[in-house]
């Protein structure tokens, strides 16, 4: 359920990047979204768990700060690449291409974390068959893009390269994710460190490519009327990523990531239904794009139905033991945390008065940007936008309540 809810919110999060088509630089779009992610981190997660819990959690596993920062940096570079990809080949085509990240994640899960080791032949078949379907779907989409894109051939190739590059980076980002959860780190603690790595990298990239911080500030001022939409994308992303992280924690990256990659379906829905991206296409290419996406989704579903048997669970345990020996962690405490039963999470977290102020200030930034927001020169279909937003909210409520009942957000 977490994986599927992640799909809905990560899909919605990419919609504001369409603003690149009205002339904003990819770096400014990426910076706006990441700043939104950073600010949003201090709203819902602080309201849920407070800050003392996060500090205690990180003190017990300080080495994971390095991986949290690294994951944030990988995400930031990948996100900037996706903006280039959307500019060159469009949201509905770029999306499935960078979703090959599930193959990359699956490979790293197998190689580095013993995932799928000890699985039965039928589970391997489900996973490999699903992986093959994802590759075939990606090839169909690449073909449809090359043949029918309105962008020039050079732009289409660069767009595909950018989307596949983002897939590689995002797939590799799951190494830090899995490492954190094998060590029993809470997803909220991980996201906290992650946002610092992410914001630092995007500010560095944007200022390097815009000729310094001064120029960047001027550019940001120019983009202020659009900033609310980018912040909103960042907010959706935080919710989607939290669900994705819980999925990685409880079912592993080789299964959790393909599930959250159903965000492709949502990306296609936002691109095609809300922004009318497929409107100018003939029925043939349109069918190719929809068919390619459907094949990829079926592949992802096949992977996620390959349940981890007892032998594979034992392999996971060995991966946890490796972490405990290498970094000096208590195996029984980590095992409890991995099951979602860590004592730290059950204790009533100490709350500080200033946490309310932080939430109020972060929410205030969203309100201020909302008051300064202007309607962008971007055609969209309002009824479809309302339908998709309502469906995403339903996924949030159902999965959020289920997660709270089962794990107390542990």
């Amino acid at each position: 359920m977490c994986g599927l809810a992640a799909g809905a919110w990560l899909g919605a999060a990419e919609a504001p990047t369409k603003l690149v088509t009205v002339g904003f630089s990819p770096f400014i779009i990426s910076l706006g979204m990441v700043a939104g992610v950073f600010v949003a981190r201090w709203t819902v997660p602080v309201a849920l768990k407070g800050t003392s819990f996060v500090m205690t959690d990180l003190k017990a596993k300080p080495h994971l700060i390095a991986w949290g920062l690294l994951a944030g940096m990988l995400w930031a570079v990948a996100n900037t690449l996706t903006v280039f990809a959307i500019r060159d080949v469009g949201l509905s085509i770029a999306f499935p291409l960078w979703n090959t990240n599930s193959l990359v994640g699956l490979f790293w899960g197998w190689l580095l974390f013993n995932e799928l080791r000890g699985s039965a032949a039928k589970d391997w078949m489900k996973v490999l068959g699903g992986a093959a379907a994802i590759v075939v779907g990606a090839c169909v989409l690449a073909y449809a893009t090359q043949q029918h894109s309105t962008a020039g051939p050079k732009n289409a190739t660069l767009g595909i390269l950018a989307a596949l590059g983002a897939g590689l980076l995002w797939g590799t980002m799951y190494i830090p994710y899995r490492k954190a959860y094998l060590s029993g780190l809470n997803p909220l603690s991980f996201v906290t460190v992650f946002t610092f790595g992410e914001l630092g990298t995007v500010v560095a990239l944007a200022s390097a490519f815009h000729g310094g911080l001064g120029n960047l500030w001027v550019e940001l001022g120019r983009a202020r009327p659009a900033m609310f939409w980018l912040f909103l994308g960042g907010f959706c992303w935080v919710l989607g990523d939290l669900f994705q992280q819980y999925a990685a924690k409880y079912i592993g990256i080789s299964r959790g990531i393909p599930l959250s990659n159903t965000n492709q379906l949502w990306g296609l829905a936002w691109g095609a239904l809300v922004f009318g991206e497929l409107a100018g296409l003939a029925p043939g290419p349109r069918l190719l794009i929809i068919g390619g996406s459907a094949v990829m989704i079926l592949g992802a579903m096949s992977i996620s139905f390959a349940e981890a048997p007892a032998a594979e669970q034992a392999s996971w345990k060995r991966a946890t033991q490796r972490e405990c020996e290498r970094y000096g962690m208590d195996e029984s405490t980590v095992a409890a945390a991995v099951r979602g039963e860590e004592p730290l999470s059950k204790a009533k977290p100490k709350r500080h008065w200033w946490e309310a102020l932080v939430v109020f200030f972060a929410a205030g930034i969203f309100v201020w940007l909302g008051l300064n927001a202007a309607r962008q020169e971007l055609a969209f279909n309002l009824p479809w936008m309302i339908v998709l937003a309502a469906a995403s909210l339903a996924a949030l409520l159902i999965s959020g309540v289920a997660l709270w009942r089962r794990t107390r957000f542990s």
Binding site: L70, G165, L168, R326
Partner: protein, 41 residues
């Protein structure tokens, strides 16, 4: 009774990170991504 396990500190922690393949794989991929970004710009 066994003493409680303590997280590695200082140089011990840095060495454990620096000799962990889980650290270097993402670092190399990150550098690849940055190069691609430079190329696309």
């Amino acid at each position: 009774m066994t003493p409680p396990v303590q997280p590695r500190q200082g140089a011990g922690r840095l060495t454990a990170i620096a000799t962990d393949v889980h650290f270097w794989v993402p670092v190399v991929v990150l550098l690849l991504g940055l190069s691609l970004l430079l190329f696309l710009r």
